[in-house]
């Protein structure tokens, strides 16, 4: 007699196989000896990994890392005052601002990409298509993540700590710097990490704003796929997959992200 719970466990195992299978197969294929996607892999070779280290792949990877890091820093810097204002003040137009802040999350990034491309072309900013346009676009689509995360940590702040600091004679600035900031630090870091990951993994916006020599790794892989299968891509994919994973694992160790993953779904 199979209990419902045991049956459920069976289903869950299958779902995990479905989720992880393709990723594991990609990793396995990257060590394949032949240049076909044979599975199970035949032999063992590091030649595809060696090829993945060529400038053709390392350059876009490095480009994406730079883009995502800068996006994370800038969108967090912009998100801090915005989240603070939205969380702490009630003012005219606040609702509209909340809607506008979350807008890039609601609207398909693909459409924002097309719009930005048109804007840059028609405003005579054609020369800025590439890194600058990508940076601007990525900040726009990553801002909601950063604002939400910071806003959540502001909301969960015990309200009395600021009053306590003020009653002990701390100025507003001093309270912010010595009390509020340390308490929301992990929220800020989590927001920056989400922004980094979102930027690093974006394709929908980036396909419109890249230009030769200034191509994020995701767009590069996508373009290369048109020519069919190459095991080098499997190695590149694994690297592209491990970088954000490593970042999140490190940050998780140091400050913890777990609380904010559910929080992502909450309101500002």
């Amino acid at each position: 007699m199979v209990t419902p719970w045991a049956a459920l466990r069976g289903v869950v195992v299958l779902v995990y196989i479905f989720m992880l299978g393709p990723i594991l197969i990609t990793a396995a294929v990257s060590f394949n000896q032949s240049n076909r996607s044979q599975f199970p892999p035949q032999g063992f070779s590091l030649q595809w990994w060696q090829r993945a280290m060529a400038p053709e792949w390392v350059d876009p990877l490095w480009f994406s890392l730079k883009l995502a890091s800068l996006t994370a820093v800038l969108s967090t810097l912009l998100a801090l005052p915005l989240a603070f204002a939205l969380a702490r003040y009630r003012f005219r137009g606040r609702e509209a601002m909340v809607a506008l802040t979350l807008g890039p999350l609601m609207l398909p990034a693909l459409v924002t990409g097309v719009g930005l491309l048109q804007l840059f072309q028609y405003a005579g900013l054609r020369d800025y298509i590439g890194f600058t346009a990508l940076l601007v676009g990525h900040i726009v689509i990553c801002l909601p993540f950063a604002v939400r995360t910071v806003a959540i940590s502001l909301h969960t702040l015990p309200p009395n700590v600021e009053l306590a600091a003020a009653s002990l004679g701390a100025s507003r600035a001093r309270t912010l710097w010595h009390v509020v900031f340390p308490l929301i630090k992990s929220g800020i870091i989590a927001g920056a990490v989400f922004a980094f990951v979102h930027s690093f993994t974006d394709v929908n916006l980036s396909i419109f704003l890249a230009r030769p020599g200034e191509v994020p790794i995701t767009v590069k892989i996508l373009g290369f796929l048109e020519f069919g299968f190459a095991p080098t891509l499997a190695a590149v994919s694994v690297i592209t997959l491990l970088l954000p994973l490593a970042l999140v694992a490190i940050v998780q160790r140091i400050t913890g992200l777990g609380d904010f993953i559910y929080g992502q779904r909450e309101r500002v």
């Binding site: 076909r36 601002m97 924002t112 804007l119 974006d202 419109f208 994919s237």
Partner: protein, 275 residues
């Protein structure tokens, strides 16, 4: 005071989010001739899209893919979410992390795994040949089915997260109460847990649906010219045909579609809050 704080981010959003979208909206009503926009107002871009069978099929395919992906992510995601919320295993944290980890990988990378599996010389063909299930190699892709599989895989974590959220919100005492009144585990599940988690299921379905209809990478990799969806068609109009008017009109249709879906989701969310 708050105005000073919001000035910079709002300026950025107005200049690089609102303005481009307004530009796109107005372009969709302008006539374009020989790849150049003219000042003439027209609805031609829309009538062109709705009139041509190839784009009618693209609309139909886009929404079929969206609905199928929504359905499959719920069918696969609900058991997983239920398990993750209820399990008492010491591995619970790890299992949740493993379930969410794919979100850290780009859709391109994850879809590439399906490319390796589904292409004519891929793992699925190798496996089926070896098992003797097929005699000759079959092309599983490019096809609409392959796109649905790839997107279901890509969006499953979102649905799981949404459903877990609503399952976490169910008071465990309700189940205890049902069972103490003599309901079996199965009966409790179908009469208590499932109805209470419906808003989460609907939310997950719509979230996956709305992301799926605007996804570009997966249909581009697992589909082909014969399996165009709206996103790939937009890309074609903008970058290959350089027809901004029709491309913009298509983008506007995509925006309206996903807004209607999100509006529906918000209505459901409001109900959820009321409960």
């Amino acid at each position: 005071m708050p105005w000073l704080l919001v000035a910079a981010p709002m300026a950025l959003l107005l200049a690089f989010f609102v303005l481009p979208n307004v530009l796109l909206l107005s372009t969709s009503f302008l006539k374009s001739e020989a790849q150049q926009l003219t000042g003439e107002l027209t609805l031609e871009n829309y009538t062109f899209l709705f009139g041509k069978p190839i784009y009618q099929w693209a609309f139909l395919r886009t929404f079929t893919v969206g609905a199928a992906v929504g359905l499959f992510t719920v069918l696969l995601g609900f058991p997983l979410a239920y398990f993750l919320v209820r399990t008492t295993s010491p591995w619970k944290g790890v299992l949740i992390a493993v379930c969410l980890a794919p979100l850290l990988a780009s859709v391109v990378v994850r879809t590439y795994g399906w490319y390796i599996i589904l292409n004519r010389f891929g793992a699925a063909n190798d496996l089926f040949l070896w098992l003797g299930l097929i005699e000759e190699r079959i092309a599983f892709m490019p096809s609409t089915g392959a796109i649905i599989i790839g997107l279901t895989h890509a969006l499953l974590p979102y649905t799981v997260l949404t459903i877990m959220g609503s399952l976490n919100g169910i008071n465990p005492n309700l189940e205890q109460a049902a069972m103490s009144l003599g309901a079996s585990r199965t009966r409790t599940f179908f009469h208590v847990v499932l109805p209470l988690s419906l808003p989460g299921i609907a939310g997950g379905f719509i979230l996956a649906f709305s992301i799926a209809i605007s996804a570009y990478a997966t249909p581009a990799i697992l589909g082909g010219p014969a399996t165009q969806v709206m996103a790939t068609a937009i890309y074609g109009f903008i970058t290959q045909l350089l027809d901004w008017s029709v491309g913009a009109a298509l983008a506007v249709i995509l925006i309206v579609s996903s807004f209607l879906l999100l509006f529906a989701a918000a209505r459901l969310g409001a109900k959820q809050a009321a409960i």
